[in-house]
């Protein structure tokens, strides 16, 4: 048979034999191409020397579009790179076919497989066959990935991206354990049910994870429904000499019923080192045994798949956190409303009661009027404080900052209190000690709010010192870029039980106070970038309240306010 296809027919499909024929035919088909040369090749290395030259020439002559599909591996990268200079190249896993298809011709051979010394070659220019092959090529081309991506994956040492389905429960269990053991940085695990947790615990996954966290600092995070049984297991597992060390690496958050609907409720998802994911279904959650309960699994190291699972995990992880915060906030809010309403009803009851009784007991009119007035003031103070708390909690406390000297403000307020103490004939001594060396203490702050804080602290000090005829001393001093204000009294001191929650809402409640003053004061100071704390005096009686505020960066004000107001 001739190496040349029979040209007497306009359309022909033929079979030819031998390497020589194959090369000639290949060359002829390529040279006949005007617009498109599409090649599928399963052995680029043994093929390149001859074919490159031929193709490159034709491409240069005609500007034909040239596309090449092959399986790119470590050993053929350099040939691919050569080819990429004249062609678009794509990679397809495990491709096993060799053919060339152009606008009008098709040839396929086994020439690339070196073992075949006498390969068969199929040639066709029958339009329908050529079109069929063009269709086949197009499909393969769309399945293949760009050579650049594959080459960089190989060069960066990334393994082939694969997702596969596993049906055999024993293989799933083995893979599950192997993956956990292989973790070097991180394991993310979502368990759908308490039973799933128990099954996974039975096959040793939980123990392995704890060990990984403890001994290899692998960051393990688990999302699972929790209950007493699980708490008990975790507690037991943690009993080991190195218990504390792994703690921060091993974190469990509870997916509880309320958002189970929105969570992943039927599959276990695990992501290891951000590189591999294993997802398996549970077919029967009542089964105690992993093998009996597990359904189908997918194992993947495909980046998009793994990243998607990471993103699902992180969203749920965050959601659990936000949910807990919301719950706490909600609880605190309810508690606040409850106490606030109680606190408001008490003076309201007094006002309503006396207003009702005042007509029946005209002889007690004066006393009752005074009581009404006192309770009305209490109610007003409470209303103001509750409004302040609401502003603080909703972060809408607006500060109208201006520059002023805090020592001037302190002095003005102290003068007012001295007047008050004298008027009330209270036996309290009030000392203050600042303005040393004519040093002023300028701050950028909301004057009214800082005055509110100082008044609150002074009122408290007087309230708890009045019975004991004590001494209150106030100091303000510069320390680096801050001013430190101390208000020290020799009063009753703070009840040690209250100290931990001294600055929380309604920590103390007395008739004359709302229980909100210190909470408000601390928040005002913190809103100015300062700090506030309190201690019982170490030697002696009473307590000291301290707050700091940043001093103004701007030039100090040398002239103090003369109007005496604040």
């Amino acid at each position: 048979m001739s190496a040349e296809p029979d040209k007497s027919f306009t359309s022909v499909t033929q079979v030819l034999y031998g390497v020589e024929n194959a090369v000639k035919l290949f060359s002829r088909v390529v040279h006949g191409a005007d617009n498109v040369i599409d090649i599928c090749d399963d052995d680029i290395i043994s093929h390149t020397a001859t074919s490159f030259k031929i193709i490159a020439e034709r491409v240069l002559q005609t500007g034909a579009k040239f596309r090449y599909i092959t399986e790119i591996k470590k050993d053929n990268i350099k040939y691919c790179k050569e080819l990429m200079k004249v062609s678009q190249v794509r990679h397809l896993d495990g491709i096993r076919t060799n053919f060339v298809v152009t606008d009008t011709e098709y040839t396929s051979s086994a020439i690339m497989q070196q073992v075949h010394a006498h390969p068969e070659i199929v040639y066709s220019n029958v339009r329908s066959i050529v079109e069929q092959q063009q269709y086949l090529f197009e499909n393969l081309w769309n399945k293949a990935i760009p050579a650049e991506r594959r080459i960089s994956e190989i060069e960066e040492g990334i393994e082939l991206e694969k997702t596969h389905v596993i049906q055999d429960p024993h293989t799933i269990q083995r893979l599950f354990l192997d993956l956990v053991r292989s973790a070097t940085h991180e394991v993310l695990l979502i368990l759908p049910t308490i039973n799933a947790f128990l099954r996974e615990h039975r096959i040793g996954v939980i123990r392995l994870l704890m060990r990984a966290a403890r001994e290899h600092a692998v960051n393990v995070r688990i999302l699972t429904p929790t209950g007493d049984v699980i708490d008990h297991i975790l507690k037991n597992e943690a009993i080991s000499p190195q218990e504390g060390e792994g703690r921060k690496e091993f974190d469990i958050r509870s997916i509880n019923r309320s958002h189970e609907e929105t969570s992943v409720s039927t599959v276990t998802i695990m992501v290891v080192d951000k590189k591999e994911s294993l997802v398996f279904e549970k077919t029967d959650d009542t089964k105690e045994n992993f093998i009996d309960a597990v359904g189908m699994a997918t194992h993947s190291n495909s980046k998009p798949t793994v990243l998607s699972y990471i993103s699902i995990f992180e969203s749920l992880w965050k959601q659990v956190d936000l949910y807990e915060q919301l719950k706490t906030h909600d609880k605190m809010q309810k508690e606040f409303i409850n106490i606030a309403s109680h606190e408001m009803k008490t003076p309201t009851q007094a006002i309503i009661g006396y207003a009702d009784l005042i007509h029946k007991h005209p002889e007690k009119r004066e006393d009752m009027m005074q009581s009404i007035s006192r309770n009305a003031v209490r109610l007003q103070r409470l209303t103001n404080d509750i409004l302040d708390v609401t502003r603080i909690d909703s972060q809408t406390l607006n500060l109208h900052k201006e520059q002023f000297n805090i020592d001037d403000l302190l002095e003005n307020i102290i003068q007012d209190y001295l007047g008050h103490i004298e008027k009330e004939n209270q036996n309290i001594k009030l000392f203050y000690n600042f303005k040393q060396n004519n040093d002023t203490l300028p701050i950028d702050a909301d004057r009214d709010r800082i005055a509110q804080v100082i008044s609150n602290l002074l009122s408290n000090a007087i309230k708890f010192t009045a019975k004991k005829n004590g001494v209150i001393s106030i100091s303000a001093e510069r320390k680096e870029k801050e001013v430190i204000v101390n208000i020290r009294d020799t009063g009753e001191g703070i009840n040690p039980e209250i100290i931990p929650r001294l600055f929380t809402k309604f920590a103390t409640r007395s008739f004359s106070g709302t229980g909100l003053g210190l909470y408000i004061s601390k928040n005002i100071i913190e809103a100015h970038g300062g700090k506030m704390w309190a201690d019982n005096n170490p030697h002696g009686e009473g307590a000291t309240f301290t707050f700091t505020l940043p001093l103004s960066n701007r030039r100090a004000i040398m002239i103090s306010r003369e109007d005496g107001g604040y």
């Binding site: 409850n338 008490t346 009851q349 009661g353 009784l357």
Partner: protein, 118 residues
Amino acid sequence: MDDEPDNTSIFSMSLEDGGFEVDAFTDPLLALTTFRSGHEKYDFLVLDIKMPDMNGFELYEEMRKIDNQVKACFLTAFGEGYTQEFGRRFPASTNVSFIRKPIRVDDLVKKVNKMVNT
């Protein structure tokens, strides 16, 4: 019994105006001691719930040990939570009721009258 002196003074004045003889306390422990030394004198207790040292329920529990027939009403400025707590503490008791603060003095007298007479 109310730890707020204004309230005890208002409630006792109102009830006295309504024809009752009233002993008023702001200290629950003192109220308990007094009750112990002469419980037969008292037909009815008006107890605030939220008080320091001992809350109204605890006080009532102690008082029932002395006289398990004594009727009481609880004053509360809180919401529904306390009725549930009461249900738990006194599952079978019918001798009690609740009054929500603030209350007009005439309403208080009417309610107490009704409860004393049933």
